[in-house]
């Protein structure tokens, strides 16, 4: 019996298995294949992700739990899996040239990326707080290492260490929260938890409330909500840019996937309590992220603060705890992944060896020198600022309309005002690129991206995909909203 159950359960985690298998193969290929570029590793990683993607798409629409209710597969988890795997695939294309330029150990890099993705998939399909924790660690530990892979630059290991220490704290908070919740509710299973909470009584238990609070702190850290954002700018700045790109979209989306699963869905009866907390966190996150981004000189740091602000917009959508809100959050995360990944892609393209060339002023006049990069950067910046007809506008439109619908009008007003503030720093990049005269490079020209054979190819593919998708979603968001609707059908009592 047990064996049969377990074997049946394996069907639920097909994408995860494919990724884990590819990761192992990747490590073996790294050991036995003497190609200095490790192109086989790249290929294996790509095949693994494409395989997982295919499995996810094939599993769309199926609802099933496995491993004695520890994991569940439904459209919600599949939607997030799509985000993770698509961003993983695009990151892979971005990374090829970058890894070669920076001489990062490719075997480690690609296998860690796969393991990390595997952890994310587990997070999205978690049906139990234990799975959440295991998935979270499986995702986080590879990201800690990835942040420090740029060994030639001191800032990279520094970022990794900071991330590890603060991340360990956050994990401890999360674990402590799980323990307290278990103590109060007597279960770690999410549906069971929902039942307990619906039964009443738990809302008044101090132990349970403390547990939920700790959980929120741990989750807030992963999605970098203010005031748990302190690590974000330093880590984003220090980590290799391709890793930053991946972190800023996939890790954040993974954090939101469990935030929604645990708080919005499982603690739904307590919505009146946590939506007040969400309100405050959303405002603090949007205000701090946008205002501090105004004065950043380093584009990676600027995008780090901007990613904090975007977490705030997602939280605006989640604050009412309604079905439309969750849908808006899914739509937002999807569009955000495309535009932010694209923006980092341009940063990679315009950077120099050693991850240099990321000061905004170094972009002076680059639109004239590289008109295509200038153009796609303009698309991403306008999209991040939420100007139509780009996808970013659609995301904000859904997020704010979810808030207005539930009566959170002032929250929406603060949100739009902060978007107006954000336009300033996004525009600044364009001002520098388009309107400043190019400055003569003082130092000798170092190894540029375009000098590597074939390196621009992968990069171009991912930039092209991101640009086209951002523009297409800005004009025709219909299919995405329908998929998002399917992802949340039946999860929430509809409004």
């Amino acid at each position: 019996m047990v064996t049969q159950d377990l074997v049946a359960s394996l069907g639920v985690i097909q994408p995860e298995l494919i990724l884990a298998g590819a990761a192992v193969l990747c490590i073996l290929a790294d050991l036995f294949w003497k190609d200095p570029d490790k192109s086989l590793c790249w290929l294996l990683a790509a095949l693994g992700i494409v395989g997982a993607l295919a499995a996810t798409i094939l599993l769309w629409g199926i609802r099933q739990t496995g491993f004695y209710d520890l994991v569940r597969m439904d459209n919600f988890s599949n939607f997030f899996s799509l985000i993770f795997l698509a961003s993983g695939l695009l990151t892979l294309f971005l990374s090829d040239g970058f890894v070669r330029r920076e001489r990062i150990a490719a075997g480690e890099y690609y296998s860690l990326l796969l393991v990390c993705l595997c952890g994310m998939l587990f997070m999205a399909s978690a049906n139990d707080l234990m799975t959440v924790f295991v998935g979270l660690e499986l995702m986080s530990i590879p990201v800690y290492i990835l942040s420090g892979l740029l060994k030639s630059e001191p800032k990279s290991p520094e970022a990794a260490l900071k991330y590890l220490l603060l991340g360990a704290f956050a994990s401890a908070f999360l674990l402590f929260g799980i323990a307290l919740t278990y103590g109060a509710a007597g279960t770690t299973n999410l549906p069971a938890l929902l039942e307990k909470v619906s039964g009443g009584g738990l809302g008044a238990s101090p132990m349970f409330l403390a547990g939920a609070g700790f959980l929120l702190v741990g989750l807030g850290f992963k999605v970098s909500l203010v005031p748990f954002h302190m690590w974000t700018p330093d880590v984003y700045e220090g980590a290799p840019t391709s890793v930053t790109a991946f972190m800023s979209v996939a890790v954040k989306a993974a954090g939101f996937s469990i935030l929604i699963r645990i708080v919005v869905l499982s603690l739904q009866p307590l919505v009146a309590d946590w939506s007040r907390i969400f309100w405050c966190l959303a405002v603090a996150t949007m205000v701090l992220g946008n205002v501090v981004a105004l004065v950043q000189e380093n584009i990676k740091r600027m995008l780090a603060y901007s990613s904090i602000a975007h977490a705030g917009y997602v939280l605006v959508a989640l604050t009412p705890g309604t079905e439309t809100g969750v849908k808006a959050a899914l739509i937002y995360l999807f569009i955000y992944f495309l535009m932010n990944l694209g923006a980092f892609g341009v940063v990679i393209a315009l950077g120099r060896k050693g991850d240099r060339g990321v000061q905004i002023e170094e972009y002076a006049g680059l639109a004239r020198k590289h008109p295509v990069y200038g153009l796609v950067m303009a698309v991403f910046m306008f999209s991040l600022a939420g100007v139509p007809p780009t996808g970013g506008f659609i995301g904000k439109f859904y997020a704010f309309s979810a808030a207005v619908q539930a009566g959170y009008i002032w929250l929406a007003v603060i949100g739009v005002l902060m978007s107006a503030v954000s336009a300033y720093f996004y525009l600044r990049v364009l001002v520098v690129m388009y309107m400043h005269e190019p400055v003569a490079q003082a130092e000798a020209p170092e190894l540029r991206f375009a000098d590597l054979p074939g390196a621009a190819f992968g990069l171009s593919i991912s930039l092209l995909v991101c640009t086209v998708a951002v523009l297409a979603l800005g004009v025709w968001p219909g299919p995405l909203t329908q998929i998002a609707q399917k992802a949340i059908n039946g999860l929430l009592p509809s409004l």
């Binding site: 004239r368 306008f382 600022a385 100007v387 139509p388 007809p389 506008f393 439109f397 704010f400 309309s401 207005v404 619908q405 009008i409 929406a412 007003v413 739009v416 005002l417 978007s419 107006a420 336009a423 300033y424 525009l427 600044r428 001002v431 388009y434 309107m435 968001p477 219909g478 909203t481």
Partner: protein, 526 residues
Amino acid sequence: MEFLNEHLLSILIFLPLAGAFFLFLFVGKTAEEAIRKITFVVMLAGFALSLKLYFDYDASSGQTMQFLETAPWLPEYGIEYKIGLDGMSLLLFLLTTFLGPIVILSSWRSVETRVKEYHICMLLLQTAMLGAFAALNLFLFYIFWEAMLIPMYFIIGVWGGPRRIYAAVKFFLYTLMGSLLMLVAILYLYFQHHAQFGTYSFDLFDLYKVQLALWPERLVFLAFGLSFAIKVPMFPFHTWLPDAHVEAPTAGSVILAGVLLKMGTYGFLRFSMPLFPQAAETYYPLIAVLALIGIVYGALVSMVQPDLKKLVAYSSVSHLGFVMLGLSVRNVPGVEGSVIQMVNHGLSTGALFLLVGMIYDRRHTRLIADFGGLSKVMPVYAAFFMVITLSSVGLPGLNGFVGEFLILLGTFKRNPAFAAVAASGVIFAAVYLLWMFKRAMFGPLTNEKNRSLADLSAREIATLVPIVVLVVWIGVYPQTFLRKMDRSVEAFLARTERIEPMAFELASEVAAPAEEAPTQPDERGP
């Protein structure tokens, strides 16, 4: 042919976009002359086609909204592609297509860097502006409205004057701030519509039926109003305008003054006032007084400007004050005068910017003090300048008079004191414009550098002649244009007078389509 007839409006809106794609994909960036020609031909074709709109528009029909086109877009959210024109937007639409080829012609020689990008921006801007005038779904309108900012931002910021970056960013942020608040207001209205009628719709004519409580209506009106008031610009939200105008390249200034500013007044006309009639009535004194302050303040500030372009820029504040005054009184002469004044301002001020640009191209200065006696070396230039100046002053027989007269008439009916103050603006206009004209054109030719200036080229004359023709036409026989909008103005007024006792029981009964609010069957499309 049938396709053309059915989709004429869409074709006109997206023709420039298609042109932009064509330039982007198929034309090399070094083929500058070809780029200019293609753009010009696209714009000219747009204008020629748009004339068909004028002839096809049936002003006697009870259905004022014509050329309607709808297509589903996001049906579950009530978002659809819905466009159409009534008599008022028809004129503004035509003004836009008319100015299109002129601005391209005007920048033929003055834009020499990044020619391809410049023309692509111009074409994109044209599509966004035309779309905003035609959109009848608030979501669609918002998309076009915001999309306008992007090309204009680049036009000012890349091809502008020395302080262009400051001006471009200020322009962008100012207008974005206003429109984002409007977005929240639109969403509020949208959900109120759902609460009252049980369906989701961004359709303008559905939203006209929404009844709001007193304070929400006022707040929503202010949110819309702020967005439009910034665009107009009304005093005290005008500070972005002189910067943007002065730094923008000539063509940018022409489009900015000619069309973009009208977006603000058009917004009041199409959205703020008919959507929120009670609030429009409540805030009528506020709008009128701000308009009056704008009229007088703009004129006084113009008077002391040493820079020709700044003078014209501030005169816009004054002229747009007239438009807002005419709208705020909401009677037939006032509104008709406002609409015709929008067109007039587009023509006269657009032409003034063209003229300033022409002299700037020659002398690379715009300071009035650097000129004097220009009429001796550039008689043709001076003649054109004279006609346009007089048109802007409001000389009877030229277009400016018609608009200002109607507005003053309408204002007098409502409040004679307001009309008296506004009339002073006409006198001030004569002072600052004629004084400027005297200093620049007449008197001794003191500055040696001006002695060898070439008079207007054939291309420059070609840009000005069509404008002068229209200036005289509107001045002599405004009926050609006024009769197109009589019915539409009446429909507008009927809507803004819909000041009913607050029927908020409606809001509480979420029940299915509550009693049909008084519909204007004439506006409901075929």
